[in-house]
């Protein structure tokens, strides 16, 4: 397990060196998008319109933060469960997205897309929303304000702590549950 400090936008070289289990501290701009925002991004793509942010080298954070209290750039901001975005992720990888950040398992289609387009899936600690918000120094809603917690935000992060769950070489960190041991 290695430790890396990476900056956005991410490059093919950044991604290729990563292996499942590596720790990454990410700095730069990432974008929040979850269920409803992804659906709207697909509608824009289908209509041939421009997306609200540049996908090249981008990292999308599956998060719906809590409201920012006075004096803080953002409220609690931990990852949401990623599988709900599995339908959309392969298309975004094919268009230049390099990384997604969430928690939980990904589909075979997403893993294949990461292999083909040199992408990576980062895990952040679920339920540690207060702690993770400390790495977000600035947050601005840039699209779909009407979606409230699901709006797309540009977030400036500094040393955001991530774990490589799926790398672009087919490696995966999650353990396979041992049903035989449990039901013996």
């Amino acid at each position: 397990m290695a430790e890396y400090k990476l900056n956005t936008p991410l490059t093919d070289e950044d991604i290729e060196q990563l292996k499942a289990g590596d720790v990454v501290f990410l700095t730069g701009t990432i974008h929040s998008a979850r269920d409803a925002a992804h659906k709207k991004l697909m509608e824009l793509l289908d209509a041939g319109k421009e997306l609200p942010f540049d996908l090249q080298g981008s990292a999308i954070y599956y998060v719906g933060p809590s409201p920012a209290p006075p004096g803080r750039p953002i409220g609690s901001a931990g990852p949401t469960t990623s599988y709900r975005m599995d339908t959309y992720a392969p298309r975004l990888h094919s268009l230049g997205m390099k990384a997604s950040i969430g928690k939980g398992k990904r589909s075979d289609e997403v893993k294949a897309a990461m292999k083909e387009h040199k992408g990576v899936y980062f895990g952040a600690t679920g339920g540690a929303g207060a702690l993770l918000s400390n790495s977000i120094v600035e947050s601005t809603v840039i699209a779909f304000d009407e979606l409230g917690p699901e709006a797309i935000r540009a977030m400036k992060v500094k040393d955001f702590p991530l774990l490589v769950i799926n790398d672009c070489h087919g490696g995966e960190l999650y353990v396979k549950p041992d049903l035989d041991a449990a039901l013996q």
């Binding site: 949401t80 599988y83 928690k103 398992k105 041991a181």
Partner: protein, 279 residues
């Protein structure tokens, strides 16, 4: 007949919503600390360390423990000899949720199931009422996050499947959920009643403390058996491997139809956010 003022209900509910979302219960903290000692894998220890740091930070800053402040679920026990004056109890609870979620900067996650339009104020809450003897009003609140709730299941087993069938279903559901519901989880299991009742009692069990023991020794033994089986899955904190996949299993059993064996598994995330008050 004892009278309870409407404003007291609203105030109590608002306070509970904020407290449950910003203060990790002591019994959960104790379990995290115990798990940290038992875990040998560095990643399992690191996840638990982060969760403890997160809890400290939440308490200090009043930021919610998790950005998903849940759908507000209530189990209400109304004493026969008390009545709420100045408003309808359901409305008052919803009013308390609106106030608490707003003033506590909690995320409002209630939305239309098809259009997905957010209702904007965290309501309507899901409320279960029960009439009990006495002159007290007991309000129990639970913040039910979507990630864990989505991994919950209800099934109707054949009576012949018995305990072995129940155990298999529960363990398989936790295995299938894997890292998704933010393990280590707490599992509420409801056996009996009808289709909807099994789910209701499974969830109600999640209001119990993690360190309590079921007063019925036979059920207590079954809870232990399920807990040990699930922990053998090796999923561990956040699915990264380890000995702690569940912090506890809470089992509730009630009689059912002679043709049926209803079973519900309700998954709760590690923060196990809930509060109770008696007015």
């Amino acid at each position: 007949m004892r009278e309870i003022q409407a404003a007291d209900v609203v105030e109590a509910v608002a306070k509970m919503c904020i407290k449950a979302n910003t203060e990790l219960p002591q019994d959960v903290r104790n379990k995290f600390e115990q798990a940290m000692e038992e875990e040998t894998s560095p990643s399992a220890k690191e996840v638990l360390r982060q969760l403890l740091e997160n809890a400290d930070l939440s308490k200090e800053t009043k930021l919610p423990l998790c950005q998903d402040c849940g759908l507000a679920v209530f189990y209400i026990e109304v004493g026969d000899d008390c009545k709420v004056v100045g408003g309808n109890l359901r409305e008052l609870i919803n009013e308390g949720v609106r106030k608490g979620y707003d003033e506590g900067f909690l995320r409002k996650s209630a939305c239309d199931p098809l259009t997905r339009a957010n209702t904007g104020d965290g309501t309507p809450a899901v409320i279960h009422f029960d009439m009990v003897p006495g002159d007290k009003l007991k309000i129990a609140y639970m913040a039910k996050g979507g990630g864990a709730e989505n991994m919950s299941r209800v099934t109707m087993l054949a009576p012949a499947q018995g305990w072995e069938g129940i155990k298999k279903f529960v363990v398989e559901r936790v295995a299938e959920a894997g890292p998704n519901p933010c393990p280590p989880t707490v599992i509420g299991v409801g056996i009996g009643g009808t289709f909807e009742h099994a789910a209701k009692i499974a969830k109600k069990g999640l209001l119990r403390k993690l360190d309590d023991t079921n007063p019925d020794p036979e059920i207590a033994a079954k809870e232990k058996e399920l807990e040990e089986a699930i922990n053998k899955l090796g999923i561990g904190p956040m699915g990264l491997g380890g000995k702690t996949t569940v912090l506890g299993v809470k089992l509730t059993m009630e009689p059912c139809h002679l043709a049926s064996l209803p079973l519900a598994v309700n998954v709760q995330c590690h923060s196990q956010r809930h509060e109770e008050v008696e007015l």
